[in-house]
Symmetry: C2
Amino acid sequence: MSETTIDRTGVVGGDEGAAPAEQPVVDFRTSPEQYKHFTVEYDGEVAYVKLVVDEQGGLVPGYELKMNSYDLGVDIELYDIGQRMRFEHPEVKAVVMTSGMEKMFCAGANIRMLAGSPHSWKVNFCKFTNETRNGIEDATAHSGQTWIAALNGSAAGGGYELALACDDIVLMDDGSSTVSLPEVPLLGVLPGTGGLTRVVDKRHVRKDRADLFATKSEGYRGDTAVAWGLVDATVPRNSWDEEIRERARAAAATSGRPGGEGVTLTKLPRSIDGDTITYDHVSATIDRGRRMVDITVAAPTGQPPADAAAARAQGVDYYPLALARELDDLILHLRTNELLIGSWVFRAKGDQELVLAHDAKLAEWAEDWFVNEVNLYLKRTLKRLDVTSRSLIAVIEPGSAFVGTLLELALASDRQYMLEGVYEDVDPDASPATIRLTDVNDGRYPMGNGLTRLESRFHGRDEDLAKVRGAKGQDLDSAGADEAGLITMALDDIDFEEELRIVLEERAALSPDSLTGMESNHRFVGPETMETKIFGRLTAWQNWIFIRPNASGPEGALRRYGSGQKGEYDLERV
Amino acid sequence: MSETTIDRTGVVGGDEGAAPAEQPVVDFRTSPEQYKHFTVEYDGEVAYVKLVVDEQGGLVPGYELKMNSYDLGVDIELYDIGQRMRFEHPEVKAVVMTSGMEKMFCAGANIRMLAGSPHSWKVNFCKFTNETRNGIEDATAHSGQTWIAALNGSAAGGGYELALACDDIVLMDDGSSTVSLPEVPLLGVLPGTGGLTRVVDKRHVRKDRADLFATKSEGYRGDTAVAWGLVDATVPRNSWDEEIRERARAAAATSGRPGGEGVTLTKLPRSIDGDTITYDHVSATIDRGRRMVDITVAAPTGQPPADAAAARAQGVDYYPLALARELDDLILHLRTNELLIGSWVFRAKGDQELVLAHDAKLAEWAEDWFVNEVNLYLKRTLKRLDVTSRSLIAVIEPGSAFVGTLLELALASDRQYMLEGVYEDVDPDASPATIRLTDVNDGRYPMGNGLTRLESRFHGRDEDLAKVRGAKGQDLDSAGADEAGLITMALDDIDFEEELRIVLEERAALSPDSLTGMESNHRFVGPETMETKIFGRLTAWQNWIFIRPNASGPEGALRRYGSGQKGEYDLERV
């Protein structure tokens, strides 16, 4: 990576110490006691999240987080806040995001951090921040927890993009506060954390005004911002607290959240021993030579609890929640810390009936706030997989548990390989593998494009879709699964392992860039949504711009920012 | 451009000789007598387009066009064929695209050409080829001219992508012919001319099969290709001609094209004198210092002809056709040959009533095959503008003719500036400028996203859209146009020129890359189609991959192809 200028040695966050000094490990697990950059205050139905970024608290050495600018460490805390708000605070119906600084809400992603980061770091950072902002919108839409951006100071770049993820944006009318997207004029990059897309597709700002806005580094004050739709309202300082409280109360009044006891998200147990990562239900073993990781997800070992209250009482030990947390953490860990591991091989094992029993209760209790949160969390985690730039391969063998929720892992995969019969030399008496499709695969976990993974798989082939729907609830062996179109290939044990070896070798030999581009085109078929536009169009353009010399070259605007010198551009329009 | 390795000096095609030797001019105007790479045979309702690429006939020195591989020069001929088929051949109802080579339909874009081309050339080349393939689909959908790919040999990469643009794909069952997308495994880039998108979104190939296909360099033969939906049928050699003829006849039977006399597309008159490009109705003056071009489009100077037959008799002199041809050529010329000219400023002048009179007849005679073709050509030309990576600015002054069809140029622009009143020191007695919205702006020229430019402008703001629709047919002065939301800004003559000067200076100072990314996000709001996915998601990923060292670096797969050495990759997944 020729543009790497920061020595990332010494990046911390992890507590396992398993990684060598040159390969720092980012840990996405945190908790309020550890927060450096946020305070959270609870006032009945309303929570106040205050951004007070610790300038010296950057995740990586080499930059100061001035003016409430953020890096990955800040965003990890924001993500944690959102998760805890959902699970620990059933009483919270509106979340006010505001700043603890005077005159500055948030200056966006830290520019020196961006300028000094390798390309892969920038891309992963943007992906995670996008997911966190989508999570804010998901809470507003599906959790009865409306986020309100109370901009008590200027919101610039990623700061305004954070506001854009909220349902309601209020700007202080103090004669100085503005909203702005200065990325294009100051840095030569895009407002890539959803900014361009949300301005036109969510806020419905006219494209010529969006153009003016995104090229004017100083941004706009309240009157223009309201007139154009960039913010919803301006409020003077003297009525600020009252007005914000009132808007939060109004939003809370539309919520069905019941209050009561939350479920505490205790620290997720994880052990990293060499190249093996182990959680309670999920484990992963990295094979560095083959640049792949074997991921095994275990079915539950016990029946679901008696009712939703009992599920809540199980808390983080409730299997579906534990599964979501473990998968979520593993995806983030591998994505961020294991860039060279290009293929992820999924296996699901254990008792299929117990997966189905838990699935049935997730449906039966879906109205319960906690179970609703679990369902939404599983949905978001599977979506994280969809936008992960790794080749995903499902291996379906005897003893596998690819049914219902766990079958989504196979459907999210780029390929599905199923053993026909059994491994004669391992366990000739085993039962051949079967999979089972259920209603869970046909509605509970929509992808970013609004379709289920099943609908995406058969997009434009309505007859095939109708046929496979007819197979719901049946145990499909390799022939049946192949016939239904649910697997890529069924092979007997003589060919199976050899084929899989070849597939993984071939995959490891291909250009990682072209695989990323290919997979992200194949996975999102059919309709587009704001979310898929952000991860597709906007992100792809941003990645192109990030790698271009005009941004990241020695004379690029991103690298020169703050040096007193402007970027020098290759002036060709491409 | 550090990756430039080919000296493009000496590229020809232009006949004006206006450009200095270092800046070769590509001319998009051609005609059958000049074709090097195609033969076209007419057999009543069916035309046969045969690809017989001249190995030595490359547009740029440095590569041989072996195995029917193509470069921009080949594609310029294909574009010309499609245009002439529509205008010169009302009798043609089906077009069979096939190869004049044995065992090879087309090997796709020439790899040495790609490897040796600067980034901007690759991007422009792909954009034009994408537009040409979209044009094939447009002919099939709207002109009663169905394109059939008769693959009498292997179709690899761009060769198969060309087939994908056809309505019907037939592969010869000869024991050797295959279809393949070898870009990912062999070159480390994407099948970026619509390939990935059309495989899943048009052919509805399952994503896991699409994944197998796009990673298997040798591709698949007929049986698998049919089973997966990659082709529609296979036909043995001995019944090939008959079967293809039959399929063409069947397609022709669904067409409403009337036969009769076509309209000959004589060579488009154009003069380039220094930095001024002049056509009959369109002229452009480049200001290299300011990196901008002033483009003036003139309204018609006479009434429309008496009826559609009279319009046909006028042929290339029929104003709307001449306008489309001139704009089309200018866009292609500036895009390809004037990379440093970042801002295009549009003015429309002349008699508004005559624009409206012609517009009215285009609607009245829309069922006539020729007028239909003119309407479609205007639509495609405006779409070309939408995907042009230049800043587009409309200037509306006294004497302007931004009404109906010409108003689309303003609506396609990123910004619209309108003079309030008159230039007091130039012509104090002039009438202030007005614009007029008509039904033409509300349906005739949909963008790639399926919306009109008017609908895109007010996307998500239904009330504003209803209001502006209510203003149809009215002359709107600057206040009225501003009120209706049709212009960005109205300024009086004291401020107008100064503002425009500043805007253009500011634009010229911004990073061209970030402008390209920004504009392509702002222009395509709301829904997506296969077309916008190709120009948005697929193209953006491809551009990112093109610029990455894994493809275009000294050890990249694209650069090393054919050297006997495989690409060496940075193995990080990003």
